[in-house]
Symmetry: C2
Subunit: 333 residues, 2 copies
């Protein structure tokens, strides 16, 4: 059985569940917007599905819903945000209030977030910066899932990176949001649950060999996208989030799912660039020509085109979720 | 027949050929260091091989060996360098003189380079920043070689990205330097010259289909590393170099090889981060733990480990090159 909610009903459910589970009122707005946007983007499993973990983690004390993030100004273009074992979203929201005007004033600015939590859909955050007219690079690290090429022990997470490009009048021209692994970890997990084999190239067993057995893959590691090049992309994220921002390294993090009292304490890093400061006036034309050269090709699309189409459709059709999940979320309200 | 040169003989040959072909004396130092470092790193074909093009382009007027790059200060942390149709290296060198102290003072700084030229080994430049204690991200764009996934017409180049991480005392902890394509374009070109087939996944034919025919691949496009994720990485580079820095878009660039009078006019973009400003003192320990977790695994290695080993070996053994190429280079001196 499924339940279908209008976007406004979905917003009320998300906000109510977060507040009901113990999130401070002032921290719920940006977070609710992010979760709703994720569901509307068609990223099923990343919105409502994770919301149940967020609420359970509030109740278990894994995350502190009352923690006030502290934004430290390191220079006119550098900021450091202590999420203080609260959610990532209030910390990122608070940091962006300093980051956006700094990037506009200086041409470039950056911020690290530490003592943080699951950033959920990373592209939501970079999208906020792009809507403010900024080219944005974002990174967030996670629990180990990918072994170095040639090795067998995961040392970095699927560690997504996101890059958002502003378009005209507060719009996003396009947005990249991708993990360092060939496929999402949940794709392997679902295959294991269903007893289905996985295609070669998705995961490695505990000995570092390519496997088509999903359970062996879960016990081993995720294959990096494009081999060593994908591992390197995850390594860039790990350096920015753990070594520069001061979040924990993958192996030292708390679990993203367990309802324990141990904070995740990972990190995020964002760089915001005002393209008009650098480009001598050509930015808009160049982005227009670049996107046109892709869209002119049958079968090709811009990186976020599918998400944009989903938003338009699901705003009309409403959001459908499993009735059991809906009931669990309502119980938090 | 081959010729083997000591590193000092190689340096004299590189410097002599550049000056002899028309490069201003003051622009030859950093460029010579970069070419020599590339050869010592074992990146055969990227040092001496490209040097003959640099010299021929000086003589044909494609590149202006006397052009003085102009560094414009946009803010205390943002710079724009007009290479003025000269080589990329003097422009990057001049920009770095402003970028390095700015990153140290502000925590982060960036610079775009436009009206530029082949940056050669991108990791040489980011390595210079890492040796100054900075985490460095570098990008350079190039002539179209990769089609968007689902399309068939190349719109972006193999567009490399580089990321360098400082270690202790002016050393590099590790350095990533990789293109957006699955393999280097030269690997397909050599197979075509030899009439050898290429493995699936290297290139696509003019209809956008995977091909094992190297000649068809050259007439089509290079396969992006990891599919859409690799194309996206190349797209990030294109945005930074063409739209932000103001270099030409791939399709509007001059050729990297033809001895014509048409400048390449591509772009570069560099971001330099002082990790000590952001990390609250944990940077060195985190990088130490991260690299140790990779090096502890038999068969795994750090991204630049092979290059470092080559430098140590070739400093002793000397650099070997084809006698014909050696003669061509000597003729420029």
């Amino acid at each position: 059985m499924t339940v279908t909610l209008t976007p406004e009903e979905a917003r009320a459910l998300i906000h109510g569940a977060l507040i009901g589970a113990g999130l401070a009122e002032g921290h719920a707005g940006y977070f609710t917007d992010a979760i709703l946007d994720t569901e509307l983007s068609g990223l099923e499993g990343h919105g409502f599905y994770w919301l149940q973990f967020y609420c359970a983690h509030l109740q278990s004390g894994k995350v502190d819903g009352r923690a006030e993030p502290v934004v430290e100004t390191l220079s006119p273009s550098a900021f450091r945000v202590d999420a203080r074992h609260g959610f990532a979203h209030p910390a990122i929201e608070a940091g962006f209030r300093a980051l956006i005007p700094a990037a506009q004033a200086q041409g470039i600015a950056a911020m690290g977030v530490y003592n943080s939590y699951n950033a959920a859909t990373l592209g939501y955050h970079t999208g906020v910066l792009a809507r403010a007219g900024l080219v944005a690079l974002g990174a967030t690290n996670s629990v180990p899932a990918i072994a170095p090429v040639g090795g067998r022990t995961p040392v970095i997470g699927t560690n997504p990176i996101s890059f958002a490009v502003p378009g005209d009048a507060g719009k996003i021209a396009f947005l990249i949001d991708q993990s360092a692994s060939a496929v999402a970890w949940t794709a392997v997990k679902r295959a294991a649950e269903d007893g289905r084999p996985i295609p070669p190239g998705w995961a490695l067993d505990a000995e570092g060999r390519d496997t088509t057995d999903a359970a062996e893959g879960l016990a081993g590691s995720m294959a990096p996208s494009g081999g060593a090049k994908g591992f390197s992309m995850g390594l860039i994220v790990e350096v920015l989030c753990a070594a520069v921002a001061g979040g924990s390294l993958g192996p030292d993090m708390g679990s993203f799912t367990d309802e324990d009292c141990r904070p995740i304490d990972n990190g995020q890093f964002f760089i915001a660039i005002d393209p008009t400061r650098f480009s001598g006036g050509v930015f808009g034309d160049r982005i227009g020509a670049l996107t046109a050269s892709i869209l002119a090709q049958d079968g090709a699309r811009l990186p976020n085109q599918r998400r944009e189409a989903n938003i338009a459709r699901l705003m009309r059709e409403g959001l459908t979720l499993d009735a059991d999940l809906h009931a669990r979320l309502q119980a938090f309200c």
